[in-house]
Amino acid sequence: MDEVQIRLRVNGLERRGRVEPRLTLADFLREHCHLTGTHLGCEHGVCGACTVLLDGAAVRACLVLAVQAEGREVTTIEGLGTPENLSPVQVAFQENHGLQCGFCTPGFVVSVTALLRDNPDPTDEEIRAGLSGNICRCTGYQGIFKAVRAAAGNTP
């Protein structure tokens, strides 16, 4: 199949690539940009591990084609904070034991980041509803809820 030239911004940097039209955004990020923090748990839009921000909206990168991101701004987990300067949400997941194996964590962190941006002081019910599209198999979610509440307190 003919490859398509695409140009987009990923974590503030311009990225160009020649991609097959059917390449997912998740595979583009992982294989072309080497941003492996965007995880693939199901590749059919259920688990939420590949959640990224596309022009600020939380989307599943396995359900978006790379060509659909043409000209748009993508923020991945790596764009939310650097190892030396993690975001309040990232720090809250660590400090509240909101992760164990950690595979779901980038997707949760991105979803929480979008949730708190739109609703800086969510109720417990709003947290549950807002994160019901991300699956964690290790924690039983309670540490994640604590992390969200803690991050809400830390988010200006």
Binding site: E43, V91, Q142
Partner: protein, 790 residues
């Protein structure tokens, strides 16, 4: 925090947590190597078929395809397995389950590899699959494998097997096939080495077991197969078996090129063994006063096509079948059978969740018959240290089973569901279709105990190395080397805590887990904190002994002190202090002449095999747990909402309260899943729902907060008095939720997961058991009336 504050007992944070939250932690599927190939696996669509022909020529002609391997390319042993090597690396002449690997392909990219799979020509002659374990075990059933169809049969007889009490309750129960559904599908990177061996980075639970099996299949000495643990995205038992390891190694060796082999979610569902589905019949008898007189049970587990850990799972099921109760007389039979269903093996709880569903339903039924409080009946019969178990094993202390059930019963109950409750609190949640007048609340209890560590005489051990030295800045640093697989449970945290406590240093480096050190055994059976924690502690203690001996020599202390320096010297606050002399030496001074290193292999106490009557001393130790579940059920739609869960668990000494809470919350959620939503459904041996769309996992909308009480009696023979904590809550959560749903709807529910059709008045209800009693009405065990004579 100082070394002491970050030692054992503190809520120390995960050392890998920031990398995981930052997205920089490297999982097995994230690894790459220059020029690497991408591998995919071809699987049989048929649960049972003869393979007439496999032709890889067309696949190999596709540009970009580097190699295709099949059964004929396996240079060593053609089969592998955790306990019995009965599973072919690739099906050669026959496939025994739908999803069995037939070939694997390496190509320049994953899409090319997938196209090549479609081009491999396999001519199958489908055969009628044998999918009913009772039929497969019965006389006249055709053997599905040269090893036969019965993986193991256990006949446990204890006390007077014919004794019966005046009050009798009897029923049958069914448990569906649960999947571990760890979130990161299987992956490995295999690099062929110049010495003819392979280097492999992978996600697994047991590096050395993998190495042994891989080396045998490759026909290589073990030292040429070097494994290092890559980031593991959950396991729960599902990574204890070999899956893609040999396939990846064969392709790397065939091509002389690094190979990334990975599964997608569908393949993950098909590729690893699941929790055993079970059919169980129980008869409990008791006195009028409510003392158990006997328990009779028959348990058939469907092991699927290959053995995996089936022989050990059935032993766990049988030996725990009576639950944590004083049962003087027992007749407990277990059978695990080969069928053409997907293979089943280890999953969190390892045979105990299934029987807990049965024995706890029976205890409720017995309480109902006796008009007793279900908690009171459990308290009355709960095991106490010194009691004799159905295996004849004498229960050692501590086992606070009675305290556990009393503790959850004492927790406050949640508020009632009212019109003022948020809509998300109703069954069905935001769909907002629940009519409050048609919602019923139920409360249910479950009590269980679960063995810790490996059983039945297995000489289990874990080896670790510790090294204490000065870093470039002259500060003392400890390095720990263990092959213990960190799969998310938090061993990396606890290992650091132990090293800080024993060595009195703050800085601890954990080397990657690999086969360059002795085996740590499996990350399973609630064993690593005890076993590998014990190994790390032992290695650290030996390091301290050597360091103190060095200091004693340096201080010119007498030879008897050098021999046993702890009598005269102690490490405290980063210093070595002479107990009587008051001499002080910093750790840095003591280490100036060079590093100190030691290795330790930790063994638990010996256990014994079961004899022909299921008697012995098979289990190292036990932990007890009790759950109380509260549910609301929509009687019109059959939807269940779990309102609250309370858990009291026997935890031993707590090394890390934060980690403990994570384990019990996660274990509870997985048990909840099996109660109301999780089941891999097979039709004629074919899994019909191998996606996360159709295999439902609990979400944030499903899992309530956990009201948790830790019971912390030190285990005498374990390091620091620890007990493993990961599995026990999974055993009780399912049974408690089932009991609560039963209480809400006032029906006998005998199957998990509960389906809406079990809860509402369908015009044409389906009996999930197809007529009771379940066992004995088919070939395997004769007629129901023969049970008593067994």
């Amino acid at each position: 925090m100082t070394g002491r504050a970050r030692g054992v007992g503190g809520s120390v944070l995960r050392p890998d947590g920031l990398a995981k939250a930052g997205g920089t932690f490297v999982y097995a599927g994230d690894l790459s190597a220059p020029g690497m190939l991408h591998a995919r696996t071809l699987r049989s669509p048929h649960p049972r078929a003869r393979i007439r022909r496999v032709d890889t020529a067309a696949a190999l002609r596709i540009p970009g395809v580097a190699a295709v391997v099949t059964a004929v390319d396996v240079p060593g042993v053609a089969t592998y397995g955790l306990i019995v090597a009965d599973q072919p690396v690739f099906a050669a002449t026959e496939t025994r389950y739908a999803g069995e690997p037939v070939a694997a392909v390496a190509a320049v990219d994953a899409p090319t590899a997938r196209r090549a799979l479609a081009a491999v020509e396999v001519e199958y002659e489908p055969l009628p699959p044998l999918v009913d374990p009772e039929v497969a075990a019965g006389p006249g059933a055709e053997p599905l494998h040269p090893d036969g169809n019965v993986f193991r049969e256990i006949t446990l007889r204890h006390g007077d097997p014919d004794a019966v009490g005046p009050v009798v309750v009897e029923d049958s129960y069914l448990v569906g096939m649960q999947d571990q559904a760890f979130l990161a599908p299987e992956a490995a990177l295999v690099v062929p080495a110049a010495d003819g061996g392979v280097d492999m980075w992978l996600a697994t639970q047991w590096l050395h077991s993998d190495r042994e099996q891989i080396a045998a299949c490759l026909g290589l000495p073990e030292e040429l197969v070097r494994l290092e643990l890559a980031g593991v995205g959950g396991a729960f038992g599902g990574r204890e078996d070999v899956t893609l390891q040999v396939h990846g190694a064969l392709l790397a060796r065939a091509t002389g090129t690094p190979v990334r082999i990975a599964y997608d979610r569908v393949e993950s569902f098909l590729g690893h063994p699941h929790r055993h589905p079970a059919r169980m019949w129980f008869r409990h008898t008791a006195t009028e006063a409510g003392d158990l007189v006997s328990v009779h049970a028959r348990i058939i587990m469907d092991g699927g096509a290959y053995a995996s850990s089936s022989p050990a799972v059935i032993a766990n099921a049988v030996t725990h079948a009576a639950g944590p109760y004083r049962v003087p007389n027992a007749r407990l039979d277990g059978l695990v059978v080969r069928t053409n269903n997907p293979p089943c093996g280890a999953m969190r709880g390892f045979g105990v969740p299934q029987v807990t569903i049965g024995h706890e339903a029976q205890m409720d039924r017995l309480a109902d018959r006796l008009r007793m409080d279900p908690v009171g009946l459990r308290v009355r019969n709960a095991l106490q240290p010194g009691d004799v178990l159905p295996t004849g094993q004498v229960l050692g202390p501590p086992l606070p089973a009675r305290e556990a059930i009393e503790a959850v019963a004492a927790r406050p109950l949640p508020a009632a569901l009212t019109a003022a409750s948020p809509v998300t609190a109703r069954p069905g949640g935001r769909g907002a279709h629940a009519d409050l007048a048609r919602v019923r609340r139920g409360v249910g209890y479950a009590l269980a105990y679960k063995n810790l560590l490996f059983s039945e005489g297995f000489d289990d051990s874990s080896t670790a190395r510790a090294r204490l030295e000065l870093d470039a800045d002259g500060r003392p640093v400890a390095t720990i080397h263990s092959a213990c697989a960190e799969v998310g449970q938090g061993f990396v945290t606890v290992a650091g805590q132990i090293a800080r406590t024993e060595l009195g240093v703050d800085e601890v480096v954990l080397r990657p887990a690999d086969t360059g050190v002795g085996s740590a055994g499996s990350t399973s059976a609630s064993r690593q904190t005890w076993m590998s924690g014990g190994a790390v502690r032992g290695a650290c203690v030996a390091v301290v002994d050597r360091l103190l001996a060095r200091v004693a020599r340096r201080l010119g202390l007498p030879p008897e002190v050098v021999e046993a320096p702890r009598r005269a010297l102690v490490i405290t606050g980063g210093e070595i202090v002479g107990a009587e002399t008051g001499t002080r030496l910093t750790l840095a001074e003591a280490l100036a002449e060079g590093p100190v290193e030691a290795e330790h292999t930790f063994h638990h106490r010996r256990t014994t095999a079961l004899d022909a009557h299921g008697q012995g001393d098979p289990h190292v130790a036990f932990a007890a747990a009790a759950h109380r579940a509260v549910v609301d059920v929509d009687l019109d739609l059959g939807l269940v909402r779990v309102v609250s869960m309370a858990l009291a668990q026997d935890c031993g000494t707590v090394l890390n309260p934060l980690s403990l809470r994570g384990q019990v919350e996660g274990g509870t959620a997985q048990g909840l899943g099996l109660a109301v939503m999780e089941e891999l459904v097979t039709v004629d041996g074919v899994v019909t729902n191998p996606t996360l769309h159709d295999y439902l996992l609990p979400t944030t909308a499903d899992v309530p907060a956990l009201d948790f009480v830790a019971l912390t009696y030190p285990q005498p023979d374990a390091p620091y008095g620890v007990k493993g904590v990961g599995e026990t809550p999974t055993c009780t959560a399912t049974a408690a939720v089932l009991a609560a749903v039963r209480a809400a709807v006032g029906r006998d529910l005998r199957r998990v997961p509960v389906r809406p059709g079990d809860l509402v008045d369908l015009a044409d209800p389906v009996d999930p058991l197809g007529g009771a009693p379940y066992l004995g009405n088919k070939a395997a065990w004769g007629q129901p009336g023969e049970m008593e004579r067994g």
